[in-house]
Symmetry: C2
DNA sequence: TTCTAATTTGATCATCCACTCAAAGAAACC
DNA sequence: GGTTTCTTTGAGTGGATGATCAAATTAGAA
């Protein structure tokens, strides 16, 4: 994979994989369907990826990274908004993330460990923001509020992906008023 | 399916299916594995179920029913506790429910509709309990609080299933103090 | 016990899927 | 233009899976 055309094909394969996984789930996504959607034949796929698993894992890794913590200085409001933005603007990636987190996390030890680490990082990020806004708050209460906020955000993100008419942003902002 | 042995076999098949789906997910659960776990041969399976899908759908329907609203008179605290009990005491069923809700809900229109109806019923149930405890609260705020509570409960249930050391009951009760 | 209907057995089938590979074609560098 | 390396093609392989079926066995009612 060194020529320009090869890299373009690789991108097309990953996009096709992401969209198919988002629409049909991890297991129902077949090599044949990926290749059709990417406009290539099977052999080309295996020229760029060693296996179906490798392509899917690449998509999954991208999805996890896309949710990931960025700015350690952000306020709670900004963090919540950024998560809503992610779900609203990168719906396919968000769907992949959610499916992998649940189906993968519950059935695959490696994914489970990765999800727990990812969660812990987000807890720290949100905890830092809450402590900055409410310096007087005790550590136990910070933990309770941050776990609650993140759980509610995840639950609402799922609701939003199930039901596009669910006003994720409003409800997410409402969370800050309840728990602020 | 009229003889006693047939009904027993049916039960064994459904238990095996439930446990395998809980451990490996919907798609990786094969007829062969179900039959081995149930201690039967393939032909017996097809004597009692028309297809693999029928067995899985039966398990899934049981799982959805198991989370379902029961008592219209229950307090918020009782409703929350009942949900925690369900997750703690029927872990396999809870895992099946979660996997179906996410993977199924995001990829299958029929399951999606079913999940949204189920969610709406739970919102009503929790809403009734909150209104009973806080008659002065406006309808918009009831909706915001109930959506937040249910989303957080679902998010925490997932966290608990990923991480058995997560103290679901304490955090769930903490939700009531934040939003009460 | 006898008879019928339900149940079990296990070989068999058709289909789908991930993956391989050798040959032909295209891209990049001299 | 020549050479090398990368890319594409597409038929083909092996294996697994869901499902079928006729024959043998067993449960239960009369």
């Amino acid at each position: 994979m060194r020529y320009r055309v090869g890299l373009e094909t690789r991108t097309r394969i990953l996009e096709a994989t992401r969209d198919l996984v988002a629409a049909q789930g991890l297991e129902k996504t077949t090599i044949k369907a990926i290749c059709e959607k990417a406009g290539i034949l099977v052999g080309s796929f295996y020229n760029l990826f060693q296996s179906k698993e490798e392509a899917i894992l690449t998509v999954v890794a991208d999805a996890i990274r896309a949710v990931g913590p960025d700015d350690g200085e952000a306020t709670l409001h900004e963090l919540v908004d950024a998560y809503v933005d992610f779900v609203e603007n990168s719906e396919a990636t968000a769907r992949v993330y959610l499916m992998v987190a649940v189906s993968g996390g519950l059935t695959d030890e490696a994914i489970r460990a990765r999800m727990l680490r990812h969660h812990e990082r987000r807890i720290e990020l949100f905890g830092r923001a809450l402590r900055a806004a409410r310096p007087e708050m005790g550590e136990d209460e910070v933990r309770q509020r941050v776990e609650s906020l993140l759980a509610a955000l995840n639950g609402m993100a799922f609701h939003r992906l199930l039901d596009p008419s669910f006003d994720f942003r409003s409800y997410a902002r409402g969370l800050l008023q309840i728990g602020a």
